[in-house]
Amino acid sequence: FVSSQVEILDWETKKQLCFLDKVEPSATIREIRLMFHKLYPRWYPARQSIKLDPKGKSLRDEEILQHLPVGTTATLYFKDLGPQIGWTTVFLIEYTGPLFIYFLFYFRITFVYGLDERFTSSPHPVVNLACICHSFHYIKRLIETVFVHRFSRGTMPLRNIVKNCLYYWGFAAWLAYYINHPLYTPPSYGKKQINFAVIMFLLCEAGNFSIHVALSDLRRNGSKTRKIPYPTKNPFTWLFFFVSCPNYTYEVGTWISFTIMTQCVPVGLFTLLCFIQMTIWAKDKHCTYLREFKDYPSHRMPIIPFLL
């Protein structure tokens, strides 16, 4: 019986933090993380970055010791990633905020628009519609977070949540302020504009949901490996013919429709920022796909068919 030994050094100081002997060669990095956690209780597995090279990438949980380029004594490096928070938790907090913040403005809670306007309601039907759409959007996101999404990485650094919440909550407050304002002006082209926007909104939400379900199905058996997404029988997924990340495409579409529906500059600005952020993410994802799969469909664009 050949057993391996593992020594773990600090990535910066190269000081030996622990020495594990009698490790099974078939042990996974996950098991090594658990062993390390026993010795250092405050460094729970999610915040351990274990790597082969001090400046290299973190090893995945599923990697097996004997498949790594190490001898019988493996030298691994540890880096503390800082306090971590689960993706599901982050999403739940991020999305619940805008949902309730919008209501503060919709119901014109006491100090929001001054004492005279408290608890009044808008004479414009589009304002009620906007509230329904905005709430629907975030409720849908919350449902997807709990039941649909399968995250490849479990956690992210804790400080991200402050940044993310400031962004989502801040913008929700800013756009809710204008839409529900007593001096709000409804769209210039009236019912035509609003109806068009609602239809576009519903189509994009349906599309976005379809894509999330399709992506989730790729990982149905609990595996964390990436697979190429393909169009299914659902017509909304046919966008996969043209783009790598149709979920982002539909998301931008949702926000464009909301901008048209409310005809409100802050909404437009939020849409623009979403578009920029999602284009960055889509390009990243697209490059990853191209790198990992030799047979990746070459005519696909990251986020906008034929263009971007």
């Binding site: 204008y178 304002h181 001096l183 709000y184 002006t185 005809q263 500059v265 802050p266």
Partner: protein, 249 residues
């Protein structure tokens, strides 16, 4: 600071006699461009000369802004492109400089020049305008000489010392001028509703330039000390390094 993209001469500028910019191509841009502007940087020298001439002519310094208004605006705006090219593309490695900090500096100057001093005519006769123009002028002349000599690999200690020491006085001077100018502009902005839009309007948007200016002033509080201490830190690093180098000779 002249626009790097503008090639040869500028017909709209009454201050002729500047050297034409020789541009040999992107690779040689750094070495060809800076020396061709002469160590003491014609654009800022132009402004400095303009200031001195106007002062001597009028005997007072109250309306000096008008004499250097055009070149100041032109060069400040051209500075945007130039700073980007210099700092982000051609000088890294030669001169250590933070892209973010320099970008911030250029942004704030363009803002002061166009969004405050130009837009609010009433502040143009303020002394505070002179304060920051003088501070910027001296700083930039020294800074460009520093870059030029660095590229030529022949940097006199005096220039290096000046760049890393005079800022101790010039930064606060410039910042005071900027803040006083913005403060002076406030009542006029409030009165005229400059750059402001209020509800109701069909875009469902509102913006209050007055509040925005106050926020800008407040933002100086966290940002200025950071820039200042960064420069002090650089000073310690750069000047002590030279001392060691000298000792070892």
């Amino acid at each position: 600071m002249a626009a790097a993209g503008s090639g040869g001469s500028r017909a709209d500028n009454g201050y002729g006699g500047q050297q034409a910019r020789r541009r040999k191509g992107p690779g040689a841009l750094a070495t060809g461009y800076l020396p061709s502007r002469c160590p003491v940087s014609p654009p800022w020298l132009v402004i400095a000369v303009g200031l001195v001439r106007a002062y001597l002519a009028k005997g007072s310094y109250h309306s000096l802004y008008y004499s250097i208004e055009k070149p100041l605006k032109f060069f400040q705006t051209g500075a945007l492109l130039e700073e980007y090219l210099l700092i982000a593309k051609y000088l890294p490695g030669i001169v250590p400089s933070s892209v973010v900090l320099t970008a911030f500096q250029v942004m704030s100057r363009v803002f002061l020049t166009w969004a405050v001093t130009h837009s609010v005519k009433e502040v143009q006769t303020e002394d505070s305008v002179l304060l920051f123009v003088v501070a910027w002028t001296i700083t930039e002349i020294i800074r460009y000489s520093f870059y030029t000599f660095s590229l030529l690999n022949h940097l006199p200690y005096l220039i290096k010392w000046a760049r890393y020491t005079l800022f101790i006085v010039l930064y606060p001077m410039g910042v005071s001028g900027e803040l006083l100018t913005i403060y002076a502009a406030l009542p006029f902005v409030r009165q005229s509703g400059l750059y402001s839009i209020s509800l109701p309007n069909k875009y469902n948007f509102s913006f209050d330039y007055y509040t925005f200016l106050i926020l800008v002033m407040i933002s100086y509080i966290p940002i200025f000390p950071q820039l200042y201490f960064h420069m002090l830190h650089q000073r310690r690093k750069v000047l002590s390094h030279t001392e060691e180098h000298k000792k070892s000779e």
